[in-house]
C-alpha cells in the first residue's frame, strides 16, 4: 500500500487554491455551523466558570431561607409562591435560638433608594438592612476601611452606614468618607465603614450599596417585605442536617400540615449550580440541533460542489488512471479534498466563533472563555462533515472508467 497522503493533500490544496471564491461560498453552511457551536461553547464555558466561581464564593456550608426560590419558572408558580407568608425577623430569631446545628444566622432586607452627600446624590443604591453576621456569610463583604456593625449598633438602632466601593467612588472621589454624613431618604447616617470592591455580576455592579442596621431599616421602611435569611452550618457535611432542622422549625412556625409542601425555599450554592447546569445543557442541546442543521446543509453543498468538481475534472481523473492511479488513489484524493475543504471552513468558523464570543463578552455582560481546543473541535467537526459528504462524490470519481474519462470533453 502506498497511498501518498501528503501528495494527495497537496493536490487537494492546489485544487482548492485554484477556486478560492467558490470554495468560500461552498463553505458558508459549515462555517455557520461551526461558528455557532464555538461561539456558544465559549460563552457557556464563560458563564459556567463565572457562575461556579460566584456561587462557590457563597460558601458550601451556607444556605438561604427565602419566600421565593431563586428561580421561578412560570407565572402560575409565581402566584403560588406569592401566597406564602413573608419571612420575618421573628423567623430569623427562632432559627437562631432553636437550631442547634446553625452556627450563624443572618437576615437581610433591601430596596433601591437615593443617597446624598451634601449636594451630590446617587439614585438606585441598594439599601440593605443587615444583622451583625450578614457580612461574614454567603457573599462575604470585606472592608477597605472602618469597621463592621456590632450588636450594640443593631440593638441601639444606630444611624450608622457602611458603604460599597461604588458609592464611595461616586460621592467622595478618593476623599476618606469615614465619619462623614450620608443621607438616605433624608435621614443622616454616619459612615463607619467602606467595603472592598467586588466587581460586577452579569454587568450588575455589586458595589453599589449602603448597609444599615436591620433594626434601623425596619424603623424606616417597616417589615412588609419578606426577609432574606442566610444560615451557616458548622461545616459542609452537616449542611443537610442543619437544613432539616431549619425546615422543621419553619414548618412548625408556619403551622404547615403534615404532607403539605414547605411554605418557604431552602437553597444551597450546589442547588444553584445544579440548576445552572441543567439550564446550560438545554442551551447546548438547542445549539447542537441548530448547528447540525447548518452542518448538514453545508455537507450537502460540499457534496454537490464535489460532484461538480469530479465532473469538471473527469479528464484529469482519466489521465491519472491512465498513468496508474488506482481507485483508492482517486478516492483518497477526492476525500482529502473534501476534508481539506470542509476543514478549512471549520478553521474559519472556529476563528469566527471565537471572534463573535469575544465581541459579545466585550459589548454585553456575558463572559466568554476561549478554549484553544475548540479550534481543533471546529476543524474536526467540519472535517467529519467533509469526510461523510465527500464519500459519494469521491467514489463516483474512483469508479470512473479510464477510457470513458479520457474521452470526456
Amino acid at each position: 500500500m502506498n497511498i501518498n497522503l501528503k501528495e494527495s493533500a497537496t493536490i487537494a490544496l492546489n485544487a482548492l487554491n485554484a477556486h478560492k471564491m467558490r470554495s468560500v461560498l461552498t463553505l458558508v453552511g459549515v462555517i455557520i455551523g461551526v461558528t455557532t457551536v464555538i461561539a456558544v461553547v465559549s460563552i457557556v464555558q464563560g458563564l459556567d466558570s463565572y457562575v461556579k466561581n460566584q456561587v462557590l464564593q457563597f460558601g458550601s456550608d451556607t444556605f438561604t431561607v427565602q419566600k421565593f426560590p431563586n428561580f421561578v419558572t412560570s407565572f402560575e408558580e409565581f402566584l403560588e409562591y406569592n401566597k406564602r407568608r413573608d419571612l420575618t425577623l421573628e423567623d430569623m430569631k427562632a432559627i437562631e435560638e432553636r437550631c442547634s446545628l446553625c452556627k450563624a444566622v443572618a437576615g437581610i432586607w433591601d430596596r433601591s433608594r437615593t443617597v446624598k452627600f451634601g449636594m451630590q446624590s446617587i439614585e438606585d443604591v441598594d439599601i440593605r438592612g443587615v444583622s451583625v453576621n450578614a457580612p461574614f456569610m454567603g457573599q462575604v463583604m470585606e472592608l477597605a476601611s472602618g469597621r463592621h456593625f456590632t450588636e450594640t449598633d443593631i440593638d441601639h438602632v444606630a444611624l450608622r452606614v457602611i458603604i460599597g466601593a461604588d458609592v464611595a467612588e461616586k460621592l467622595f472621589y478618593g476623599r476618606d468618607p469615614l465619619g462623614l454624613e450620608l443621607k438616605i431618604d433624608g435621614v443622616p447616617f454616619e459612615i463607619i465603614g467602606v467595603a472592598k470592591k467586588t466587581g460586577s455580576f452579569f454587568g450588575q455592579s455589586m458595589d453599589n450599596f449602603a448597609r444599615i442596621p436591620i433594626t434601623m431599616y425596619q424603623r424606616m421602611y417597616g417589615s412588609h417585605e419578606s426577609l432574606f435569611i442566610n444560615v451557616q452550618a458548622p461545616n459542609e457535611a452537616q449542611l443537610p442536617q442543619a437544613m432539616d432542622e431549619v425546615r422543621v422549625i419553619m414548618r412548625a412556625r408556619q403551622h404547615t400540615p403534615y404532607k403539605k409542601d414547605d411554605g418557604f425555599a431552602l437553597e444551597t450554592a450546589a442547588s444553584f449550580i445544579d440548576l445552572w447546569q441543567s439550564f446550560s445543557q438545554g442551551i447546548f442541546a438547542v445549539t447542537i440541533s441548530i448547528a447540525s442543521i447548518a452542518l448538514i446543509v453545508g455537507g450537502v453543498v460540499i457534496m454537490n460542489i464535489m460532484l461538480v468538481s469530479v465532473r469538471e475534472r473527469t479528464r484529469e481523473i482519466g489521465i491519472r488512471k491512465a498513468i496508474g492511479a488506482r481507485r483508492r488513489d482517486i478516492l483518497v484524493q477526492f476525500l482529502i479534498e473534501a476534508v481539506t475543504l470542509a476543514g478549512a471552513g471549520g478553521l474559519l468558523g472556529a476563528l469566527l466563533g471565537i471572534a463573535i464570543a469575544l465581541i459579545i463578552s466585550k459589548v454585553s455582560p456575558l463572559p466568554a472563555v476561549i478554549r484553544w481546543w475548540s479550534i481543533l473541535m471546529g476543524i474536526g467537526m467540519a472535517a467529519s462533515v467533509g469526510l461523510f459528504f465527500g464519500i459519494y462524490p469521491a467514489s463516483r470519481a474512483a469508479k470512473l472508467d479510464p477510457i470513458v474519462a479520457l474521452r470526456f470533453e
Binding site: 501518498n4 479528464r315 489521465i319 491512465a322 498513468i323 496508474g324 488506482r326 481507485r327 479510464p402 477510457i403
Partner: protein, 250 residues
C-alpha cells in the same frame, strides 16, 4: 495501511511473473474483438485480431480514420477491455487481472503517449512527469531524480517548472513522452503522437522515438503517414478492424 494485503500480494505476483518471461512475446492477442452497440447496429471496431509483438520491436500501426487503431491501442494499453478474445501482456491474461493489477500494469509496464498530450494543465512539467512515480509510491528523493532524468532524456531539463500552457506543442509532447518513460515501461504506446504537431516538430518527435527504440525500448506507434511509418521496423495495416497486412520493413 494494511487493509488490503490480498491486492498487494497479487500485484507482487504480477511483478514477479513479468520478471521471468523474457523469452515470451511481450504482447500476444488471440481473436480480439471490440464491438460497439449503436442502437440496433453493431460496430466491430476490432474484428478478430491475432498478432504478437516481441521485445524491442518498433511497430507502426497504419490505417484510415475509423479503422480501429485507437481502439486497439487502448486495449493494448489496458485502458479499454476487449468484448471478446484474449490479450496477454508479459504472459499475463489481462481479462483475469483485478482493477488494482490493471492500474499497476498501466503504471509500470506501459507508457502511453496521446495525440492530445493529456497533461495535467495546472501542474508543472516536472510534476506531470513525477505523477506515475507518485502512484507507485516512489519516495520523494529518487522520484525527483528519476523525473528530472526523464525530462533530460527528452531535452527539457531547462523547462521543468513550466506549466503546459507555457510550452509549445512539441515541448508538451516531449513532457508526455518523459512521463511515459519515467517508470522504464516494457512498452511505449503512442497514438498519433505527431497528429497535433507541425511537420518539423513531428520529425523531432519521431527522431526521439527512434532514439528510444535504439536504447532498447519497445514501441508501438499509430500513424497514417507513410513517412512516419517508415521509421518503424514493422508495419501493421488495419482496415475495418482487421489486419490487412503485417510487414517487416528495414
Amino acid at each position: 495501511m494494511g487493509t488490503s494485503s490480498g491486492a498487494a500480494t497479487s500485484v507482487e505476483e504480477t511483478r514477479k511473473d513479468m520478471g521471468n518471461n523474457g523469452d515470451r512475446p511481450l504482447i500476444v492477442t488471440e481473436d480480439l474483438w471490440k464491438t460497439y452497440e449503436m442502437g440496433s447496429e453493431q460496430i466491430h471496431a476490432l474484428h478478430g485480431l491475432t498478432f504478437k509483438i516481441e521485445r524491442n520491436e518498433y511497430v507502426a500501426i497504419m490505417g484510415p480514420s475509423g479503422s480501429g487503431k485507437s481502439t486497439l491501442m487502448n486495449v493494448i494499453g489496458c485502458l479499454d477491455t476487449p468484448t471478446k478474445g484474449k490479450y496477454y501482456i508479459n504472459n499475463r491474461l489481462v481479462s483475469e487481472l483485478s482493477d488494482d493489477e490493471l492500474a499497476f500494469i498501466r503504471n509500470k509496464e506501459i507508457g502511453f503517449v496521446f495525440q492530445t498530450f493529456n497533461l495535467l494543465a495546472r501542474a508543472t512539467a516536472l510534476h506531470n512527469v513525477e505523477l506515475p512515480l507518485i502512484y507507485n509510491g516512489t519516495p520523494a528523493g529518487p522520484r525527483l531524480e528519476q523525473a528530472k532524468a526523464a525530462l533530460a532524456k527528452v531535452d527539457l531539463a531547462d523547462r521543468m517548472t513550466h506549466k503546459p500552457n507555457e510550452l509549445s506543442g512539441g515541448q508538451r509532447q516531449r513532457v508526455a513522452i518523459a512521463r511515459a518513460l519515467v517508470n522504464n515501461p516494457s512498452i511505449i504506446l503512442a497514438d498519433e503522437p505527431t497528429g497535433n504537431l507541425d511537420t518539423a516538430t513531428g520529425v523531432d518527435i519521431m527522431n526521439l522515438f527512434e532514439r528510444l527504440w535504439e536504447q532498447g525500448n519497445t514501441i508501438v506507434l499509430v500513424t497514417h503517414e507513410h513517412d512516419i511509418a517508415a521509421h518503424a521496423n514493422r508495419i501493421i495495416h488495419i482496415r475495418d478492424g482487421r489486419i490487412e497486412k503485417d510487414e517487416k520493413v528495414r
